[in-house]
């Protein structure tokens, strides 16, 4: 399975965008490994819970291992160390101290690293390297398991402190050691946001971002690019062609998701870069995005060479049916189907048969579980669709399918669809699956019915 290694806050943003597209079926299944010091802020929680729609036993994260974040250093080890404290102490030999002082000026040595790297990638990478074998062993182990037909994508930015310091060396570590024969691709961001206003002296400023971008780009071109089969490089143009392509604004003290077109566009690179590599010698090449209207992304081809609008229509359709299936009304219908004069076909013969297998005493519980699962699945679609609405704009009317329009407006149509799509029994299974698994199987029928 293809692996995405998301580095820093930008990496988390790309991972969240990719999660949504996997949930919609527009991207193939992916495994995720996130490397970031921030594992509990709003963005991180959103990623780990997929917008609070992951409920163990009911719904899964669209990405394998999507709920785990690996901090690049052990936050519990020392209370409030200075950078130099991590490497030199009174017992350090004079020679070792000389080498440390040769590499780092006095200001850098005095940085309190628990507060972040203050836009100093040299510090970020050094701490990362010191800890990578311990803290990040699971990430590299995952990388080693990626098969020869699959790929590894490393997503992150050149601009901040932690991510900018770490991304080049994640790539180099993979390319030189852990995934030497695996195809590596980069989803690399230059500037995509403006710094917080009213920031204190120690936080990142626009000047810092610009500086890091330049130094990071210089280093990337020389040292990192050769390890990558291809790189998608993304950054703010001097003149934004559309309001939705303007820079995102960070706000001091806030760590929520900053939704932006760049992230979902970068996720398209997961499909496009390997495609390009199949037809041309792409090693070391760098690719960019071109757009004038974010809504044009709806017309780009995604998995199976289908346009994104097709997946959006499918998702809207399926969500609509799931919401109905999880509603109190349909729950009532399901209960009635097992009543004295109940008509199983009202809820779909196959569904009725499936519920019946649990035995009459369990019917109510099973119905509740099925409904809960469908509601949660619907919320996952909602989480993905709402995002696309925000970053790309609503799906243009011209791409709305008749079936979608009908289901959006007519409850009768929903009932008929469910009755029809859930009419045939599930394949016989030896063991009785849990109700959420049954719910998922019926969900899949809805998905597969969309042509």
């Amino acid at each position: 399975m293809t692996l995405m290694i998301a580095v820093g806050g930008t990496g988390q943003h790309v991972a969240l965008a990719a999660s949504r597209l996997v949930a919609l079926g527009a991207l193939p299944p992916l495994e995720l490994a996130v490397v970031d010091a921030d594992d509990s802020g709003d963005l991180s929680m959103n990623l780990r819970t997929f917008g609070s729609t992951v409920s163990p036993g009911y719904t899964r994260h669209p990405l394998g291992n999507g709920d785990a974040i690996y901090p690049p250093f052990d936050k519990k080890a020392k209370q409030d160390p200075k950078f130099s404290d991590l490497f030199v102490d009174p017992n350090t030999s004079a020679r070792e101290r000389s080498v440390f002082e040769l590499c780092f000026d006095a200001d850098s040595a005095g940085i309190a690293v628990k507060d972040g790297m203050f836009g100093r990638p040299a510090i970020g990478v050094t701490i990362f390297t010191q800890n990578k074998e311990t803290q990040l062993r699971p990430v590299f182990e995952r990388a080693q398991l990626v098969g020869p037909q699959d790929h590894i994508f490393v997503a992150g930015s050149l601009v901040g402190g932690t991510g900018a310091g770490i991304l080049p060396h994640v790539v180099k570590s993979l390319g030189e050691k852990y995934a030497k024969s695996t195809r590596l691709y980069g989803l690399v961001f230059m500037r995509w946001f403006r710094s917080p206003t009213g920031a204190s002296k120690q936080t990142i400023s626009d000047e810092t971002l610009d500086r890091n971008m330049r130094y990071g780009a210089d280093y990337f071109f020389r040292e990192v690019r050769p390890h990558l089969k291809g790189t998608l490089l993304v950054g703010l143009p001097d003149k934004s062609p559309h309001g939705k392509l303007d820079p995102a604004f960070l706000e001091a003290g806030r760590s929520d998701e900053k939704k932006h077109f760049f992230h979902v566009a970068a996720a398209n690179g997961i499909l496009k870069l390997p495609e390009i590599a199949r037809t041309e010698q792409s090693d070391g090449s760098i690719y960019g995005l071109a757009a004038e209207d974010p809504a044009s992304l709806y017309e780009e081809q995604w998995l199976g060479e289908k346009a994104l609008w097709w997946y959006v229509n499918r998702a809207v359709t399926v969500k609509s049916l799931l919401l109905y299936a999880g509603s109190e009304k349909f729950k009532g219908e399901m209960r009635s189907a097992f009543g004295l004069f109940g008509k199983p076909d009202n809820i779909g013969g196959g569904l009725s048969e499936a519920i019946k297998r649990y035995g009459k005493p369990q019917v109510k519980t099973v119905i509740d579980e099925l409904a809960k699962t469908w509601t949660l699945l619907a919320s996952q679609y909602e989480f993905s669709l709402k995002y696309l609405d925000e970053v790309l704009g609503p799906l243009p009317e011209k791409h709305h399918t008749p079936r979608r329009r009908e289901l959006e407006t007519s409850e009768v149509s929903k009932v008929k669809e469910i009755q029809d799509l859930w009419s045939t029994p599930l394949p016989a299974q030896q063991e009785l699956p849990k109700p959420p698994e049954v719910a998922e199987l019926f969900h899949r029928r809805l998905v597969e019915s969309f042509k």
Binding site: E96, V99, C103, D105, R211, M213, R214, Y215, L245, G288
Partner: protein, 565 residues
Amino acid sequence: MPRTVLLPHWEQAPTWTGLIGKVFDPGQHVPGPWKPRIEDAKSIADIEAFAFPTPFAWAEMMATVLTQGLYEHPLFKLYQSLVLGVTLGYLQLEVVDLTSFAFGKVLADTDSRYRYFGLLRGSSRNREIQGSVFGGTSPATLFWPSPRPSEREWAALGECVSGVDGRLDEAYRLLADLRELLAKAKKWDASDKRWMSGLNRVIGDRAASHENVLYHLHSCSVGPVKIAMGDEMRPLYMPVYQERFSQDFLRAVTGTFKLEGDRVTLSDDRNVAQFEITVPVIPTDGDLVLAGTGNLVPKQGQVRSYDESVRIRLNDDDRGKGLFSYLQPIHQTFRAKPDEIRERPFFYPDTLRLIVDRLGDAGIPGSDVVFSDRAYAAVLDSSIPRLPLASSIDQTENARISGFVLTYTDGRDRRQRKAVYVESYSGVEGGVDVGDLRAVGWVLWSYFIGAASYDGQIRDDELTPLLDARSGVPFASAAVHKRLTEQPDEWKKCRRLAALQRFVRAYQTSSEKEHPPVQRLCAKAADAFANCAWNGRVIPNGRPSRKTQEVQAGQVQFVIYRDEA
């Protein structure tokens, strides 16, 4: 609105129709508008090297300065001080295996090219800077300045390399020598925007020394620094100006040697250590070359020969093991031939460079080439850079080198060997007469006129052996050379034209190519002696002598003649 490429400072329209298209080919560098803006820095404090995502951020900053050709940048000024500081010996290069300590392992893990890392530390030449670390080494830039020394310390280093000690000119010429040698070996490319451009700028258009005599005779090497040359990484040894260093080292090679831990100590007859040769013990994944195998460390001010000896003790002899016995691991590490070391001396430590440079083919253990002790002595006392390679001495006259190469088969191991008889050769600061041929010629003459006899050895009337065949071939003994040099009457006694003519005639018969090489040697030696004794060309005359004697000397057999008259 037309489609826009979503990258900063990008003016061209997209050349593709879909969302994603190519913007850079693999060989293209970072574009100008994205380059780091570093030209405005006025001092080290203004430099934000930490923005590079590597712990070697200052090395990266130095690389950027060189790549952008910013020769007025504060870092480049310090770079100049580092280069001159090393060349003048005010900075010593201390090579460290980073994997030998914890922080070093982190560094080496980020970039394995730096594993064998050089610290540039103030030497004992100047107390004010002694011990302070001024910089490090890098594959891209050669050296880079540390951010830690104070302005006062940098000023002190700057003062050292400003020429106050009167050696600045030599330092520049020495660096120009290095540049010229690299160019001759096709390893120099000043258009390469890395260390070569920096070094080129430091040297400017200063000329190298004639025949690079400063490099060959008056420098020691430090390093190596793992350096980028084109697409490959090579170990480069940097020269440090040190007058007469080559001669001093060879003088020390007349002494005794002892292996002590990771060093071979060269001592004189008072057992005073004069040099140490490093033979480091390294981990199994280590690199002997980069760890500094074969480096020379001088131990004392004045070097003296062992008991006024002029015998360079490369091979084992009556005083014990020769230096070659201790250099085996070094030779096994480098596995280089003499011509390779001569063509690219900057890739080899002093232990190989100096010996091969001065002694040519004889400078490698197990060599099939041998010179006379007299030739080795000339190397010790003369300022001539080097003994010639055997390949450069032809049977025909050469404007700068005259002599004879005797090829023979060593009966002990059936190997083909070469004994080089050097008559004279000229170099940078004049010519030198070694006189190997005429000395052998004098021995043959002594027998010819009955002043010497043969009883298994050719001896004079005091029974002193006149040939020294310890090397396997007959060179004239030291006593013969001493006699010819210190007793001018010897030559007067030989000025007998008729006898000389018969002498030359006797050996002329075996001067043609179809005769064994040793006989041709005798013919050449006879010629050389006769011409020298007569101080002019001696034309062969008279009947060839039929009084012959077969002689065995070392591994060769030949015929000598007695005058019938």
